[in-house]
C-alpha cells in the first residue's frame, strides 16, 4: 500500500507552518513587547516624579495637569498617580490628568510618576495648530527705541532664523549695551522667556513657552524647565532660552505645549508643580515584562522572559544549542565532514565562547598536545580500556589545574582559560586521536583532529555572535523552525559535498 502522505511532505508542511508561527511570534514580540533584533541588553529608564502641591481654599478641588506624550526617542513605560481620595481621570487624547475631590483643609500633595525608556522607534507627533498672528505694538516711546535697537542688532546678523539670532543676542557675553539696557537687572529664565516672547511679538512672530523636564540625573524638586517656541517660516521651531540653539533636545520631555496651561488648580492657591528625575538602568527583558503588563498582555507570564535572571541566563545559554546542532547536521550530512564524536566540535565551540577565541584555541592545543604525550606513554603500560580512559581524564584535570595556576601567576590569559573545556570530552578526543593514530596511522588521526577543530571553529563563529545569541533567545520560537529543518535534513538523500569529490573518478571514466 502506498503511503498517502510522504514523510517529506508532512515535514515540509510543518516547516512552513512553524515559519509562519515564528514570524508571527516575532512580529508580536517586536510590536507589543518592544523586543528588538539588536542585543542592546540594557536600557535607560527615566523616572519623572511630578509633585503638585497647593493649599485648599475650601471649595471643591479640581486639579488639571498636562502630561507628557510619546515623543521622538522616548516611549512611556508606565504611569502612576498617587492621589488618595481623589477621583482620577485621564484624558488620553489631550494628555491631561484631572483630579477631582471634595474640599480639603490641609495642604495637598499629589504625585504623578511617569517612567520613560530610550527607544529607537518611538515616534512623537505634535499636533500643529495654526498660530494667531498678533502683533504687539509698543506704546512707550523709550521702550520702542530700545526694541528697535535690539532688532537692528539682530538683523545685522545673517545666519539662522530671526528668533534664533534674537535669543543668541540676548545671551551674549558680555551683553551689548542695547540689550543690557533692555533686560532687567535680576534676570531669570522665566523673565527671559517673557522678554523673548515680547520682542518676537513686536515683529509679529508668534512665540510661546514650552514646559517640560530636561532629563538629567540628580534633579530634585525643581520647577519645570522651559523652552521657547517661535513660529517662523510656517512652522514651530523650539529654542533653548539660554543659548538660542534651535531644535527640541532629545532628552527634553515635553509636559505642556501650546495654548494650554501646565497646571490648573481650582479650589486652592499657592499651587506649584515640582519635578524630580531618577535614572535607572534596567535589563531590556525585565522591562519587556513591565511593558507587556502595561499593555495588559498576560501571555508574557508564561514565557522564559518572566523568569528570574539566573534562569534566563541559563536558558539563554541553552537556546544557542539548537543552532549549533543544526550546523553539525549540515556539516556532517550535507557537507560530509567526519569528526570525532558527533557533538564534540559543538561542545568545544561552546568552551571557546567562554575562553575567547585565540586564547581558547591555543590553550586547547596545549591540553590536547600534553594529553597525547601522556596518553602515548600510557600505551606502553597496556592498561585496560576503562582504567586507561579514566587515567586520561585525571591527566586532563591535572593539566588544566597546572595551566590555571601557571596562568594566574604569570598573568597569562591563555593558560587561565583551561578550566572552561569539558573534561570528559577532551579526554575522549585524546583517546580517540591516539587509537586512530595507532590503527589508521598519523595521517588519518591528524585529519580527524583537523576536521574536528575546523568544525568547532566554524560553529564558534556562528554562535559567538552576540546578535545571533540574542536573537535565538529573544525570538526562541525559531528553535521550532530549526527542529523541523533538522528533521527534514533527516530525509535528505542527496549527495554530500565531499562525495562529489570522492566519487568523481566514476564520472571521468565515462
Amino acid at each position: 500500500m502506498k503511503r498517502f502522505f510522504s514523510v517529506n511532505a508532512v515535514l515540509t508542511t510543518l516547516l512552513v507552518l512553524s515559519i509562519i508561527f515564528a514570524a508571527a511570534a516575532t512580529y508580536y514580540k517586536i510590536t507589543y513587547w518592544g523586543f528588538s533584533f539588536k542585543p542592546s541588553e540594557r536600557t535607560d529608564v527615566w523616572t519623572i516624579d511630578a509633585k503638585v502641591s497647593f493649599v485648599p481654599n475650601g471649595d471643591p478641588i479640581d486639579v488639571s495637569l498636562s502630561l507628557p506624550s510619546v515623543q521622538q526617542g522616548y516611549k512611556i513605560l508606565s504611569e502612576d498617580v498617587v492621589a488618595n481620595g481623589y477621583e482620577i481621570q485621564k484624558d488620553e487624547k489631550n494628555r491631561r490628568l484631572s483630579l477631582k475631590s471634595k474640599a480639603h483643609k490641609n495642604k495637598q500633595n499629589l504625585y504623578y510618576r511617569v517612567m520613560l525608556y530610550d527607544t529607537e522607534d518611538g515616534k512623537g507627533k505634535f499636533y500643529e495648530e495654526a498660530p494667531q498672528k498678533t502683533k504687539i505694538t509698543v506704546d512707550d516711546e523709550q521702550q520702542k527705541v530700545m526694541v528697535d535697537d535690539i532688532w537692528r542688532l539682530v538683523d545685522e546678523q545673517k545666519s539662522g532664523t530671526r528668533a534664533e539670532r534674537l535669543i543668541k543676542l540676548l545671551n551674549e557675553k558680555p551683553l551689548s549695551p542695547e540689550v543690557d539696557a533692555f533686560l532687567p537687572v535680576k534676570n531669570t529664565t522665566r523673565v527671559m522667556a517673557d522678554k523673548i516672547i515680547f520682542l518676537l511679538g513686536t515683529r509679529g512672530i508668534p512665540a510661546r513657552v514650552i514646559r517640560g523636564v530636561m532629563l538629567s540625573e540628580k534633579k530634585r524638586m525643581l520647577p519645570a524647565d522651559m523652552m521657547i517656541e517661535a513660529y517662523e517660516g510656517s512652522k514651530w521651531i523650539v529654542y533653548d532660552i539660554n543659548s538660542g540653539k534651535a531644535g527640541l533636545p532629545k532628552d527634553f520631555i515635553v509636559f505642556q505645549r501650546g495654548g494650554v496651561s501646565l497646571l490648573d488648580v481650582s479650589g486652592g492657591y499657592d499651587s506649584q508643580v515640582r519635578f524630580s528625575v531618577i535614572k535607572s538602568v534596567v535589563s531590556s527583558f525585565k522591562m519587556a515584562g513591565s511593558r507587556a503588563k502595561y499593555d495588559g498582555s498576560r501571555l508574557f507570564n508564561y514565557t522564559i522572559y518572566d523568569l528570574p535572571t539566573l534562569e534566563q541566563n541559563t536558558l539563554k545559554w541553552l537556546m544557542i544549542f539548537p543552532l549549533g546542532i543544526l550546523l553539525v547536521v549540515i556539516l556532517r550530512n550535507v557537507i560530509g565532514i567526519s569528526t570525532m564524536g558527533t557533538f564534540t566540535p559543538m561542545l568545544v565551540a561552546m568552551s571557546l565562547i567562554k575562553t575567547g577565541f585565540i586564547y581558547g584555541v591555543l590553550c586547547f592545543a596545549v591540553i590536547i598536545g600534553l594529553g597525547l604525550a601522556v596518553r602515548t606513554m600510557l600505551t606502553r603500560l597496556n592498561l585496560l580500556l576503562v582504567p586507561r580512559i579514566s587515567a586520561v581524564v585525571i591527566f586532563v584535570i591535572l593539566i588544566m589545574q597546572m595551566l590555571t595556576v601557571f596562568g594566574y601567576h604569570f598573568d597569562l590569559k591563555v593558560a587561565a582559560s583551561a578550566v572552561f573545556f569539558p573534561i570528559i570530552i577532551t579526554a575522549w578526543i585524546i583517546e580517540r586521536a591516539c587509537i586512530t593514530w595507532e590503527e589508521d596511522g598519523v595521517k588519518n588521526a591528524t585529519k580527524q583532529i583537523v576536521n574536528t577543530v575546523f568544525v568547532a571553529i566554524i560553529t564558534y563563529f556562528v554562535i559567538s555572535s552576540e546578535y545571533i545569541r540574542h536573537i535565538m533567545f529573544a525570538f526562541n520560537e525559531w528553535n521550532l523552525v530549526i527542529l523541523l529543518i533538522v528533521m527534514l535534513l533527516g530525509t535528505y538523500t542527496g549527495y554530500r559535498l565531499t562525495e562529489l569529490k570522492r566519487f568523481a573518478p566514476l564520472i571521468k571514466d565515462k
Binding site: 585496560l384 588519518n444 542527496g494 559535498l497 566519487f503 568523481a504 566514476l506 564520472i507
Partner: protein, 318 residues
C-alpha cells in the same frame, strides 16, 4: 582554484551515473531494508558463525570464546595442541583487534607479520578485547579464538602480506556488486581501502577483475608487488556468490556486505557480515551501485531460493 573545482563532480552527473551516496544509502536502503533488531546477528561474530554453520556456510572453525577476565589467563588451554590460531573481538569491525598467531612456543608468540609477543602481551590483547577497546561503541566484548585461514595461493602476488578478501554486496538476496580488497605496504597488511589498500572491482558473472583503484584513483598494477591487477580472477566464484546470497536468508538483512576469504582446503569461507557496508565498492568497480539496485528492484524476480538467485545473477549479460 579551477584545478580544485575539477576534483569535484556535479550531482546531476553523479545521479545519471547511478552513484549511491551515503545519505541515500542510509535513508533509502539501510533504514528501509535492514531492521535494527537484526543487527546483533551480524555485529556479533559468534552469533554470525553459529547461524552460518547451521545452514552449512563455511566459516573459520571456532576454537573457543573467552568471555570473562578470569578466563584470560587460561587461554592457552583452549588452543592446546594447535600450532596456530587467531584471536578477534566478537564485535570488532574493519579487522581491528585481530591477532594472528602463526606459531608459539614456551610463552613466546609469533604473529603473521613476524613480530614476537610475550604471553603477557597476548594476555593484555585479550583483556583489551574484553574491555571493549575494539568493539563498536566500546561495550564489553568477548574474544573469539578461531582457526587460521590457510590462504589460497591463487592470490599470492596480489596482496602484500595480509589476507585479501572478497566483499559481496547483497541486495534483497541478489549479489549486486563485488570487489576484492588487497593489502599493500601502506595499509600495513590490512584490507581497508581508506588505509591505502587496493580495491579491485569484479565482474558479477565471472569473478574477473574489471577495474582497480588505490586511494580513489584507477591503477593497473599492484603498487608493491607489481602484478597486473587486471589478470585477477577469483576462483570458485559461484560459491562466493552463494555465501552472499545465503546470508540474506540467514540474517533477513535486505542490504548487506559479506566478507569472504578463500581457504586452500575448505574453499570460500564467510569471515564476517556487515549491515552497513561502505560505498567504496562503487569506486573499485568504476560504476554506480544505484543503477544495479534499481535494476534488481524493477526486473529481478522475487521469491527465488538462494541458489536460483545466484543462477539468475550469473545468467545476466554484463
Amino acid at each position: 582554484m579551477v584545478d580544485l573545482l575539477k576534483l569535484f563532480s556535479y550531482p546531476k552527473l553523479m545521479h545519471q551515473a547511478g552513484v549511491l551516496g551515503m545519505n541515500s544509502r542510509n535513508h533509502n536502503i539501510i533504514a528501509r531494508y535492514n531492521k535494527r533488531s537484526l543487527y546483533p546477528l551480524v555485529d556479533d561474530k559468534v552469533k554470525t558463525k553459529t547461524l552460518a554453520n547451521g545452514i552449512d556456510i563455511n566459516t573459520p572453525r571456532m576454537i573457543g570464546v573467552v568471555e570473562h577476565q578470569y578466563e584470560v589467563k587460561d587461554f592457552q588451554k583452549l588452543v592446546e595442541g594447535r600450532k596456530e590460531f587467531v584471536v578477534k573481538p566478537a564485535h570488532g569491525s574493519q579487522g581491528k583487534g585481530v591477532l594472528v598467531i602463526k606459531s608459539y612456543d614456551k610463552g613466546l608468540f609469533i604473529t603473521a607479520s613476524g613480530k614476537t609477543l610475550t604471553f603477557k602481551e597476548v594476555y593484555q590483547h585479550i583483556s583489551n578485547i574484553l574491555s571493549g577497546l575494539y568493539s563498536l561503541g566500546g561495550q564489553y566484548d568477548v574474544a573469539l579464538i578461531e582457526e587460521l585461514v590457510h590462504f589460497s595461493n591463487e592470490f599470492k602476488n596480489f596482496s602484500y602480506q595480509g589476507i585479501p578478501d572478497v566483499r559481496v554486496i547483497v541486495y534483497k538476496g541478489y549479489p549486486a556488486m563485488a570487489m576484492m580488497r588487497l593489502a599493500t605496504k601502506e595499509s600495513e597488511g590490512r584490507a581497508n581501502l581508506h588505509q591505502g589498500a587496493v580495491g579491485v572491482g569484479l565482474n558479477m558473472q565471472t569473478g574477473k577483475a574489471v577495474n582497480a583503484v588505490s586511494h580513489n584513483q584507477p591503477i593497473l598494477i599492484h603498487p608493491d608487488t607489481g602484478v597486473d591487477l587486471m589478470t585477477l580472477q577469483v576462483p570458485k566464484w559461484r560459491e562466493h556468490l552463494m555465501i552472499g546470497s545465503q546470508a540474506y536468508e540467514m540474517t533477513g538483512l535486505g542490504y548487506l556486505g559479506a566478507d569472504i576469504v578463500l581457504d586452500k582446503e575448505r574453499g570460500p569461507m564467510m569471515l564476517e557480515l556487515n549491515a552497513r557496508p561502505g560505498l567504496s565498492v562503487q569506486i573499485a568497480n568504476g560504476r554506480g551501485l544505484q543503477t544495479v539496485l534499481k535494476k534488481i528492484d524493477e526486473t529481478y524476480p522475487q521469491g527465488l531460493s538462494a541458489e536460483q538467485r545466484v543462477d539468475y545473477v550469473l545468467k545476466q549479460a554484463k
